[in-house]
Symmetry: C2
Subunit: 559 residues, 2 copies
């Protein structure tokens, strides 16, 4: 039979390192079988219970420290708990810094060249510290999690106006000027710059780049929520813009879990405006192609690294001249082939948002009325609703010709996309029927037409003659969908990267100086990497008392 | 002012070619501005209305033929309508076949070597014709759409028991023994075999294979619904099995829009058991990797063709020896890195179903209780719920060690997957803490452990020593997630391809003989390609009368 005893310290603040060290120390004492030292959140209590470490009748909440000790005998357990205060004192020996400022402001006075503030205090205090750092005109690396979405948006908007970065909250990893912030691998410097909404994503890619002989210019973290609709990729866009202007960066890598669809479009159309190659690794987002213009889509983290290294080596000075003809208006796709229509949706959804279709990839893309296009529309005219008692549009062009005229008459139409599928069973001469209508659209309405022709030179229609007829009518012809989509992507009006003040490059490329507020191990690691740093001796304002905190915050704002 | 007149023919059956030809003929008459000839479904009436061709007060339903003519004057319009019967008679001149059997049975007597029956009659009659073909032991190419899901399942199960294929319903394309069925491009024969739930998908890929110098052994269509949960990929599995056994096929291509998740797993684990390379083009399904074992994932149709050609050229006789060690039980992943966990979910969801996790790719994957694993489980221990008042698992191994023991004690656990992330900020020696626990799991519990180590040789932990410690404890170590997942994929017990009677290879590789029921253009095209064919002079049973049809069907079943 084992004995279990516990102690609750109400409303006490300790940082997580202290708690871990205390738990280890208790577990190491003679006669102790196991110990738990946690802030008593519901999840932590469940975890204790799962480990058979939660005594009955414990009354403690999320703000309380709960210390549990299990031992073979009563004496050992009681003895262990009696040593808690002693053990808590013991750990203060690690860092070598003699004097510790007690506020961020004081730290800035000590190290005025510090452009960066690392924040890893508990979530409820983190937004306040980050805001203070922004007021002091410093970039913020915000490691803390459990920060509200509202706070994130407010901080990032404030940063954008000031031309500063807020990396985070919940940002695990960054590498600035060769120095890792938070969790980061030691990698050589080089010409690959990264922006990542994912910590271990950045770690996996930068490690592999290093291991394969490449190097990293800057790796900018954004926090996992940056690519949600509500935040809209604020930091990611700033980071891309920064790397686009940074002379040391030749190739850009963008990594995250799948962003919100609207954000995908915003990021990719911004990325298309950059003259450097951009490797896109949106894990789990169906890639529109392997390549669209200067965008290269990776399937895995390992592949993102491989692609970046390959592109960084291949780089020549052939800056592709930007096309001058731009599409204005909506794209309307009229397809006879269902899978071709679907492939068009898959490709175009990455760069056009919102997009409507009767072959949706996502339910919200469903076109309410297949007989009327709205916004960007991709239509499969071979769907069941169009083929009842009617020949398939591969055999009978009537329906498509009528729809073509309908789209051409719509002043919102900016480009018409068609497929022409040749082969056995299909119409013997589709181009002959389509060409006059295409000519009318291109010449009289000045609406560009792009056609994808599927076929072989052995097909009964004579493929070359079909292509020629379509081209003579004014259509731009491709033989696979991906090339057509890449062409369209390059014709789209590029969206600008950043709306606010661009981030100044002065904090990048030089030595790194930073102020650390929170986990001391981050300070130790900055120093170990040769960075200049100051550790703030941080304590929660008003000892963690919520009411007092609110009053203090108000006073500060008025000052 | 234009004049519009119409005529309704109640319950009349005409095939779609006849209707198209009539409409064209009417439009071509002097004084006629436009004409519409359709079965009067709701959609078709809307389409007429959109083209300003639907007069007010038309009373006609889906079974009625509606003929509308618009002209400049009354006389021309009335005159045009008067010619309808004449025009309907005129078209009977196309095919050269003298005698036309009036039933499938009669056609089989005329051409007993015909292994194939093409069915393109209207949807409501199609299942009956297909079933008769199966009774006569013929493979079916079922072009017709608007066939019910129940009929599809019934027909496919019947086919599987008999070792026959039902390609379709709504199957647009197949190439059998070098002859295209339905819509198909003329391509040279070769060693690439395809199975496709998508007509233009097959057309785009086979065309490109031909255009790039490759060739096609067989291209098997399945119909678009074959990969839905309810059908479960019956025809696709038969097709893959067939191509796996077919000596002319060296590389297999699998193409479709994204299948149901459970079907993805079934297909891919079956494909993993084939010794030939399989190119997978599930458009829009996030690829787990570029390659997993013998599976190669393509992003676009064009890339599927490119990959197939590359693999067909590279083929050597190095048949990879099947691994003997097999995983039995569930996979449990315990991650410190969120993105690594997500990448594991992305990769493993393709081969394990169902899979549960706290970093879901799809909502239904959400693990109900993060503290308890169920089935295959991937857990990110760095999620907010685990880190309140607690250090991140990259710094503090305590939580992971406890969970590791919990999983090891679960008799359902078959393999444990871990990440070990090195670098600045992380634990100074994670392997030292993990190795003893791993050794216990591997040695005492006989549960294999796979670890993915992220790091560089410059990291403070000494990467090589970390890897060595983990390996000595018994873990199999990889340095990226994709290689680890590929390893796991090859250890999974392979699922068998086909449950019923395997399809005999006798109908494949020889000349093609077929019976065509429906669109005459398909008969013409079979003949034009050098196939042997008989056209059935098909009319709806009982003149399309539903009640009589039901009685006839009953009598046939009893016979």
């Amino acid at each position: 039979m084992s004995v279990i005893r516990y102690e609750v310290r109400k409303g006490a603040y300790y940082d997580s390192v202290v708690l871990m060290q205390l738990q280890k120390a208790l577990t190491g004492l003679a006669g102790v079988l196991d110990a738990g030292v946690v802030m008593a959140t519901a999840a932590n209590k469940e975890l204790l219970a799962a480990g058979d470490l939660l005594p009955e009748g414990v009354e403690a909440g999320a703000d309380d420290l709960l210390i549990v000790v299990k031992g073979e005998e009563e004496t050992a357990v009681v003895n262990a708990l009696a040593q808690v205060d002693e053990l808590l004192k013991r750990r203060r020996t690690s860092t070598g810094q003699d004097f510790r400022p007690r506020s961020l402001e004081a730290a800035v006075n000590i190290l005025p060249e510090a452009n960066w503030v690392l924040v890893s205090v508990p979530g409820r205090y983190a937004a306040g510290v980050a805001e203070e750092a922004l007021r002091l005109n410093r970039h913020v690396f915000l490691y803390s999690d459990n920060v509200s979405l509202e706070d994130e948006i407010r901080l990032k908007q404030m940063a954008r106006e000031k031309g500063l970065l807020v990396m985070g909250p919940d940002c695990g990893t960054a590498i600035i000027n060769g120095i890792g912030l938070g969790f980061a691998n030691r990698v050589q410097r080089g010409n690959i710059g990264l922006v990542g909404a994912s910590g271990t994503g950045l770690q996996a890619i930068t490690s592999r780049i290093h291991n394969l002989g490449g190097g990293v210019s800057q790796a900018i973290g954004t926090g996992g929520r940056d690519l949600k609709e509500a935040v809209g990729g604020l930091t990611t866009l700033q980071g891309m813009d920064l790397l686009a202007r940074d002379e040391e960066t030749a190739v850009i890598v963008l990594v995250s879990k799948p962003p919100a669809p609207s954000v995908v479009t915003r990021l990719l159309s911004a990325a298309l405006s950059i003259t450097k190659p951009v490797v896109v690794s949106f894990l789990g987002y169906p890639p529109p192609a392997r390549r669209l213009g200067n965008l290269y889509f990776a399937t895995t983290l390992a592949e993102a690294a491989d692609l970046a290294i390959k592109l960084a080596k291949e780089l020549t000075s052939e800056a592709e001249t930007a096309e001058t003809s731009r599409i204005s208006g909506y794209i309307r796709g009229l397809f006879s082939g269902g899978t071709l229509a679907y492939e068009a949706v898959l490709g175009l959804q990455a760069i056009l948002h919102p997009l409507y279709t009767n072959v949706p990839v996502r339910p919200e893309q469903t076109l309410p009325d297949p007989l009327t296009s709205q916004g960007h529309t991709i239509l499969d005219l071979g769907e069941d609703v169009f083929t009842q008692g009617r020949l398939h549009p591969m055999m009978d062009n009537d329906l498509r010709l009528r729809r073509l005229r309908q789209e051409a008459a719509d002043p919102e139409t900016g480009l018409i996309l068609l497929d022409v599928v040749l082969g056995e069973g299909a119409h013997p001469d589709p181009a002959a029927e389509l060409a006059p209508a295409i000519a009318e659209v291109c010449r009289q309405r000045q609406i560009p037409v792009v056609a994808v022709v599927v076929g072989t030179e052995d097909d009964p229609q004579n493929m070359d003659a079909q292509i020629e007829q379509l081209q003579e009518a004014g259509a731009t012809v491709f033989q696979d969908m991906t090339t057509a989509i890449s062409y369209i992507a390059q014709q789209l009006a590029a969206s600008s990267l950043v709306a606010g003040t661009p981030v100044s490059l002065t904090a990048f490329g030089e030595e790194l100086s930073a102020i650390n507020v929170g986990l001391e191990s981050f300070y130790d690691s900055l120093k170990a990497q040769g960075g200049t740093a100051v550790q703030v001796e941080w304590r929660p304002p008003a000892g963690g008392n919520e009411k007092l905190m609110a009053i203090l915050a108000k006073m500060k704002q008025q000052a």
